[in-house]
């Protein structure tokens, strides 16, 4: 039991980041019915932009909270613009094409973004600067939690709260829900579908930017290829919760984080030393395959869903 609670804490932290990214997948899926394969790369771009802004701001003597706000603001704006352009260039012309077409362009965008990022930032691993003193606190004497981990959970919660408010209480949110329910009917009710789709991409990208900063802060590393695996896992999380369902994405993200970190902690014991924690990435895929085979609609069933 020694590592059990510690792995739960780690799992919740990483899971809340997965949830943020999964929300982006699930919202786009809910509205357009496509998998935005390039979403993981948007997360990476968010982290890299944030890194550049931090390194730039460090040259001046700016109060820490102001610079932090600037970092988030800059990353969110940039990622939103990026996602807006991706949608216009790669997805919009293919809205009536066969299903495989947007998926293939999405792969193209993904490769493109990754290599452009590599050209700009190079192949090296950047250590993500620590903005806060990373103190460690004990919880009931059974597990440790660091300042950064607390901040990650808090920021994720706040971001998700804003998202739920946006979707459920604002007019744009209502337009999004209507569009995902029935595109044609929404159009007839006077909703500008193209605007709704753009907004969906922008909101998703903003969440991705936040997630990118958080994940880079969590591991302390930023790298041009960090988005790919993260994107896959977040997609798994979205499927686990039931793709198209925003509550499901949050649940799926947290659950996947827990499964993964507990799995990585115990895989050696479970397989009698046959597999080590280097099989950690396999766990997410196994979860994905199992969910798709057993319960393709995800944990939060279609009927009680609040599709976005």
């Amino acid at each position: 039991m020694d590592i059990f609670f510690q792995q739960i804490i780690n799992g919740l932290v990483i899971g809340s980041v997965y949830a943020l990214v999964a929300l982006g997948y699930t919202m786009v899926y809910g509205i357009l019915g496509i998998i935005n394969f390039a979403h993981g790369e948007v997360v990476m771009i968010g982290a890299m932009i944030a890194l550049s802004i931090i390194l730039f701001l460090f040259q001046f003597d700016i109060p820490i909270y102001l610079s932090l706000a600037l970092v988030f603001f800059g990353a969110i704006i940039f990622c939103s613009l990026l996602a807006f352009c991706i949608e216009k260039v790669a997805y919009k012309p293919l809205r009536n094409a066969p299903r495989l077409a947007p998926l293939i362009t999405a792969i193209g965008v993904s490769i493109l973004l990754q290599n452009i990022a590599m050209l700009i930032w190079g192949r090296q691993y950047y250590s993500f600067p620590q903005i806060f003193n990373n103190d460690t606190y004990q919880i009931f004497g059974i597990a440790n939690i660091t300042t950064i981990q607390i901040i990650i959970i808090l920021i994720s919660l706040v971001t998700m709260f804003f998202l739920f408010y946006f979707i459920n209480k604002t007019q744009y949110g209502m337009a999004m829900r209507a569009t995902s329910e029935d595109k044609n009917a929404a159009k007839l009710m006077g909703i500008e579908i193209n605007n709704v789709i753009s907004i969906t991409f922008i909101v998703g990208a903003s969440l991705a930017a936040v997630a990118g900063i958080l994940i880079a802060a969590n591991y302390g590393i930023a790298h041009y290829s960090m988005g790919f695996m993260l994107g896959l896992k977040a997609f798994t999380a979205a499927v686990l919760g039931g793709i198209g369902n925003i509550v499901g994405a949050v649940i799926g993200g947290l659950l996947l984080g827990l499964i993964e970190s507990l799995g990585a902690g115990y895989i050696e014991k479970l397989t009698f030393g046959f597999m080590g924690s280097n099989y950690q990435d396999v766990i997410a895929f196994l979860v994905l395959v199992l969910v798709l085979v057993i319960k393709p609609n995800g944990l939060v069933g279609e009927k009680s869903s609040t599709k976005v």
Binding site: A97, I104, I111, L112, V293
Partner: protein, 350 residues
Amino acid sequence: MISKILPFHKKLKFIHGLFLVIIALTLLPFVIEESFGRSWLRIFDYTLIYVLLALGLNIVVGFAGLLDLGYIAFFAVGAYSWAILASPQFDIHLSFLVILPISFFIAGFFGVLLGAPTLRLRGDYLAIVTLGFGEIIRIFLNNLDHPVNVTNGPVGINMIDPVMIGTFSFNNKIVIFGIQLTNLHFYYYLLVICVILVIIICQRLENSSIGRAWVAIREDEVAAEAMGINTRNVKLLAFAMGASFGGVSGAIFSSFQGFVSPESFILIESIMVLCMVVLGGMGHIYGVVLGAFILVILPEIIRSVAAPIQESIFGVVLIDPESLRMILFGLALILVMLYRPTGLWNKKNV
């Protein structure tokens, strides 16, 4: 295919054409070696391996419309089958006549293994699951060096046997009429024979009831099912078939290269093969062959040309050839999908 209905003079014409093609294909490696050098003959051999791969993936993606993003995993399975069955790793040295069918069936088995639980999924889910499968295979290859050393981990397996016919090894050199024949030539002929066989199989498949069932599923799965097609089995067959071809080309790749390591089977390779199929035109056999040639040979040209050109214009190498290659891949995928969804080589009857 030569048909019995053809009148005699057309038959004759066909046979003439066939002869010319055979002579051209026989002489081609010498022409390449003379005019471009040995390294290009090697590249040409690799191209043929990719042609085999692309033709295999074309069955899955092009004919049956199932987007498989982990196709390189089957290539890996084939390559490691050969590497394990014909190398000092376990000190097993089987003949290629035994290993080729084995890798064919093992890869096909993996295809079924992956396909059976996932094929009732919708297309885009399938894409992600296959992608995950490809990664799982690679992770296993990377880590299966303990507790029992099967794959030798990240280092890979070395000193793999070449193809042997009787006592003649493909790594031997022989001189006929003053022309030296090396392993590059032997593998060229082996690969050309394989490619021609696979093209014939693909063409026969395309016009068979199975091929038509695949196209029906690709166009409209529900309608296909309503017409009495057992979609699950037919899709599984496409998957297994594509996987088996991938396995065979993997086996040849492994013996040709002499070593295998997990690094050859990363996701980008899957995507590159997919690019070949998309670029050439999904479902169009000759288009896919063309796509493979473009995507292997063009980057090689870029590799030799891009750096000097950039140096002469900008004074420094701004974009290294490897990332330039990847950027062009990405752009190609997007642009082809946007402007020429049927591929560069337009097929008429689709």
